[in-house]
Assembly symmetry: C2
Homo-oligomer: 264 residues x 2
């Protein structure tokens, strides 16, 4: 999501907070996720942000209302932009959503899609192994003899096979977790074999960047080249550093200048 935002807003400063000490949120319950999200939001408001983007789908699913109640700045989640794109993309009115256990249990995607397209049918499936596969760098793009590639492909075939069994008619799958876009080439290959008709994969990161642009424009808050901050475009804060330095460049596509460790 940070990558999509940086690409779309060359004149904004991005204050990024990764709660790496307590990740993943996806396996945790609503109360825990709300509490941690509130602490993160307070930290970012304290750093003077004008728009708060909740990049984590699980935090969006559980904590968006609590954050909107509490924050003085507008709060943008992952679910609504993803639902917008999914509804725009479906022809058959059959939408699949894959995400963490938390996101799926929250029921937030089916609710958001029903509010936009009451006739659409939504099938959700939790895929808990996709996050650790991405963090391990096993994204299924190896050659046929590569066992890590086999494991990634077998995992994708197992999850998408179950989704196919539950909804043979779907034509859109929402990648409802920040990690899943890194599996996109693999998921596209597996989906193409499982469904005979075309299936569109919707990536909430680019949907969120477009929604952030609409929000900033509507509120007249967007920086131009003249009002752009002189400081670095990306301020990075994390609560644990152990793996961030290794993983962040994989998501961001380039190395990071500086990361500050904080306690939430």
């Amino acid at each position: 999501v940070a990558r999509a935002l940086l690409g779309r807003f060359p004149d904004e400063r991005l204050v990024y907070l990764g709660d790496t000490a307590r990740l993943p949120y996806g396996t945790k319950g609503a109360e825990t996720v709300v509490r941690y999200s509130q602490r993160a939001a307070r930290f970012l408001e304290g750093h003077g942000v004008k728009l708060l983007v909740v990049a984590c789908n699980t935090a969006s699913a559980f904590a968006l209302e609590a954050l909107r109640d509490e924050c003085r700045v507008p709060v943008l989640g992952a679910v609504e932009p993803g639902a917008d794109e999914a509804v725009a993309a479906t022809v058959r009115g059959r939408i699949g959503v894959i995400g963490t256990l938390g996101t799926v249990r929250s029921g937030s995607y089916p609710r958001a899609i029903a509010a936009r397209a009451p006739g659409a049918k939504v099938t959700t499936l939790a895929c808990p192994l996709f996050v650790p596969l991405v963090e391990e760098g096993w994204v299924g793009d190896g050659d046929e003899g590569d066992l890590a590639h086999h494991a990634a492909r077998a995992t994708a075939e197992s999850y998408l096979g179950e989704l196919r069994q539950r909804e043979p008619e779907l034509d859109v799958i929402v990648l409802g977790c920040t990690h899943y876009p890194l599996l996109r080439p693999l998921l596209e290959r597996v989906a193409a074999r499982l469904w005979r008709h075309p299936v569109t994969l919707v990536d909430s990161a680019s949907a969120m960047a477009r929604a952030a642009e609409r929000e900033l424009d509507a509120l007249g808050l967007r920086s131009g080249p003249s009002t752009a901050p002189a400081t670095s475009a990306l301020d990075c804060y994390v609560t644990d550093e152990a793996r961030f330095g290794e993983l962040a460049p994989r998501f961001l596509g380039h190395p990071l200048d500086r990361v500050e460790k904080i306690d939430l």
Copy 2:
């Protein structure tokens, strides 16, 4: 570990704390793991325990000294009992240790084994996908057509294949993480194919229960049937409930009476 302790101590009361809100510890850095472990230890000391067992290998690897400095009761970790068993079991003096990223990075198993058998050669490998595989229930015991089984087997073949490449002569593998014993049948099958000679898998849970028995006996702290507490044998506390009710019986082998959610 709780299961092994309950089996060995029918007359003791076990106070169990699972820091499920912040798990897994295995991907986090030393400072974070020490801080969280200290909070957990304070909670358990406040509940009047006479022996503190650090069941998590990552917490044992990073935080044991800090906990021993701070606690009034004896503290038993996972690494020393596991190292004892490994040294006793090896014939060739070549030992493999698999665990989380944190446990492997800490270097605690090689240090503990070197202290016991200076001539032994230790090869360590982090296997970050094993914990989520176990939590998903994909432990590789399905039939040949089962894709989840394929994924578990391909993952085990990839990790153990790398270990085999690094140390063809090892004859002991320490399962250096609380989750790994649930993969034991799969790991035994894969190891038997990869190594021509017998390979012993050492499970730190049973090693810890035996070490706990030695410790309590040495200190004269063991309860007999006459001094046994009248209350439930297992008091369970967790920091997040979302998955505990589903996962705990898989580890414990039977359902739980009561689980209390606390904030650490």
